[in-house]
Symmetry: D2
Subunit: 304 residues, 4 copies
């Protein structure tokens, strides 16, 4: 398929759509990003690559990193992970705290903030040098050693992360955090600060489209069955309070971040990453979602 | 594939799993069903049929009927349906009323009770004889004229349906119910009382696996694009508070009912219906979910 | 004390305070009231009376009537009343339904709508002709036979009372309503429609300032101990979500209604009623609260 | 009145009431208190004192100290205090976090934990040496210099105070905490650790029964009008989720602590403090509440 022509075509049509979104602004590093940048990249399991725009420019992947830490924990820990976090969609944001309280400190799923913090706590217990180990895992599945934390972003997140501290303290009061809070949060704020390009995101997620095997290295990250389950989890929980809408309109499992990135997986076929910094009210890239909706509609490539 | 052998095999293995579930007992008609019945049926888009156990015995399909009324409304109404109901998973049940209040009478999705009641209200405005029209729609997509409401069940539901009356009154206080409450609830309680067999459920859902076209009649119920969206909606919202778990373990879009039935769709391939009356704590068939998990695991037929 | 001079003085000063409030408008009968009417009346336990403005004009007492039905139930039922309703302040209004659900159908107190409906249910079981009996009780404690329901108001309330129907159905689903819903709601909507003047309200509440005895007839309605408890309950629960503020600023137990009336009790001394139809955001008379705050401040007559 | 005889009499009768309560056990220092201790003390505004049992033994006053910090802030800060905290009862405990979130970081009142933390934040901005200044204020109103923090208790509270850290971080995320979190929490945990006897509590609260003037020193702490308002606030908010019940049964404004102490105020007449370490399910002294209910019933000394 001539994906690049299609990318151009959709991008050009979306030019006329007014973008009501705004860049994430709770930390200066996100607020200062040029909001008009746009990149998209598609990589097939066979190794073909299709790019458009700022596809090789790195940006803050933010919550997309929660997939990496979850996969790392899921590949090492057996069933006990589901005693520490649920796997259901989160419901409206106004519930976040009351739900965590109602469920006695067990987050709804590993992709909301509370759940990702629990996964960091699990990795803090499991890994010798969590931050280094996480990074080297990402290097391995991406085939690129230069991907790194942005420590300035991590520090900014930490300085303004009172709500996340509220979550971790509440979970600790229910004994669902085992390690020292500062140690856990240091990991959490670092993973959110990772910077990658659309091209790199496509490569890093490719094992999820390929039954758990990294195509270019042959390394088996997860069994085929577990790989399907990670995709399923992204489908129901990957888009904050908009998982239903993304599933309805785009029809692929994926994960978004407040840096404006979205990565989606078409099992057995390809991964696609899009980046457009302006966010809709629910914190997902406004043009990114629209672009993916158009793309899967025109190519009839929803999984449903 | 030798599905029938596989059905036998899985059923036989599940015999040794203790079923901690209980039949739905809030109305006498459900409570008196023999809980040990078990049926499964699979129909391919090409017309092949595979059956096991009580696959042709009719039971109360309950919430599964919400897919029929939603499709009927969705096929006639254009975009305005999404001003009346959302399309996001519902979150924990303890939220049901507060969420409806927080969202000013707009239900989270059309498959929870509140949302299905709104759909009944839309059909009450849209159709000349709603109850007759709904039934004849089901006859058409199933190819069977004998499917009917069980008026005794409908009456039992009505007599004990105080919680549903609380929902409809709350929505009416927010002006999200347009017709007379009793008229809307009469439709709602009747659709929940419909009785079908696994075999009939498979046939009735087949257009959802076939790009919106009923294979045996050629009738186009929905466009291919809208069909994918109905499947997507079932994936995120079809299993009460267990949509995440069903997606994670089974990996197919589907819908369950408190009568113990579950029907699932493998797009482009088949529909499958299973019936086992004992329910888990979240109101889904305990053995039905387990059976489907085993089936999609062994055949690697999850969509993810 | 020269109360009438004080009434004039405070009223005159309050003229210059802009009243941001609006008359209750959810039923036409309240919306059409002249909002500039103002009346105040004070009656001492010794029988002295002080009036100002529209003190003898009848208006819709609305929720103030909940005190009458509660006292009637409390005087006849022994302890079991507290198995059917709590006696704690209600918290923010956004909780009303979730709290009722959390507490499994037991309202927080008998002065919120849900609690007053439970009291009507108790009276429906307890009294031969509830509506007649309630009215004759009010006649007895007021010494005036002409007080009556306004059936037009009751009908309007019933026609728009979807939220109240949501409450009663939710409670019925938890088995905390014993009688037929329509019968209970008929009593409830009628008591809200009662019309009385400030002068009549003062007389009717006088037994609460007089150890339970109606001064002009000598009839003992409640024991002294129970009388104190009714006053205590009004203090913590008499002003919707503004009980804390009323207690803080006025310092007397009392009860308000959306018709713009407030009645307050100074134990052993007097009752006072004020009427000004414009309501603040929490549904209490804006000028009425201000007037009482000024009055108790200048006379140092808070009970605290 | 022969209070001491009455104390003996009530205490003796309560011996036969089984105490289902348990001592607060979330920190070792509270868990190790001998639960059978019991003390009561009453001091009149005229200076008469009546004691029974362990009335001079010091215990951990815990939340009772919130009255001292509130009065100190209220006596120095003018109206702006009510922009930082509300003055309404808190509703059920299951709301604590969601309500704080719904109200955008503004606690319901200054006597719940979140509100008392805000008051500590105000004092951290207002006072040169908050911990010393608070202590010397208590010395002045009690006339006793030996009252002190128990730093072991403060440290224990800090070590296990994850839930309080969740509250303060949530409020900080809404900008309702101005100072460094650790500094604010250091004050908060210290005030909860103060130890006083029933006799000392009676003396320290006496200005609240005496129009704001400390009787033995003549110092005016608050105006008469503000004093009434503090009492009013204790009435509606002084007993966690049991303010309604305490008001209903005892009929005096007061404040309790999880150390098993309760102090109550009869305006113009006396203060009374009771101590019994076993707590009911809502965190108030079981026998303490019962004792005060009996006392005010037999002496008809409720304020209502």
């Amino acid at each position: 398929m001539h994906y690049e022509t299609l990318f151009q075509e959709i991008h050009s049509e979306l030019q006329s759509v007014e973008d009501p979104g705004q860049v994430g602004d709770y930390i200066p590093e996100l607020a200062h990003v040029n909001p008009d940048q746009f990149g998209v990249h598609l990589t097939t399991v066979g190794g073909e690559e299709f790019a458009f725009g700022d596809a090789e420019k790195r940006f803050s992947i933010q919550s997309i990193a929660k997939v990496f830490t979850f996969v790392l924990a899921y590949s090492r820990i057996k069933s006990s992970i589901w005693e520490r976090t649920g796997l259901e969609p989160a419901g409206t944001p106004f519930n976040s705290l009351v739900q965590l309280e109602y469920d006695r400190g067990i987050p709804r799923n590993p992709f909301i903030n509370a759940g990702a913090i629990v996964i960091c706590d699990i990795l803090a217990s499991e890994l010798a040098s969590p931050k280094e180990n996480i990074l080297s895992f990402i290097h391995r599945i991406t085939g690129t050693d230069s991907i790194d934390y942005n420590s300035k972003v991590a520090l900014s997140e930490k300085k303004t992360g009172y709500r996340n501290y509220a979550l971790v303290n509440l979970m600790k009061s229910f004994a669902n955090i085992k390690n020292d809070i500062d140690r856990v949060m240091d990991i959490y704020f670092h993973i959110c600060s990772i910077e990658m390009s659309c091209k790199e995101l496509c490569r890093s997620f490719l094992f999820l489209a390929n039954n758990g095997i990294v195509p270019f290295s042959g390394e088996q990250i997860l069994t085929a069955s577990r790989t399907k389950r990670v995709n399923a989890l992204m489908q129901t929980c990957g888009f904050y309070d908009e998982a239903g809408e993304f599933t309805f309109k785009v029809g692929l499992p994926g994960k978004s971040g407040v840096g404006g990135g979205i990565v989606a997986v078409h099992p057995e076929k390809y991964t696609i990453a899009v980046w457009s910094p302006r966010l809709n009210k629910k914190g997902n890239s406004f043009k990114g979602m629209l672009f993916l909706e158009e793309l899967t509609s025109r190519t009839s490539s929803s999984i449903f």
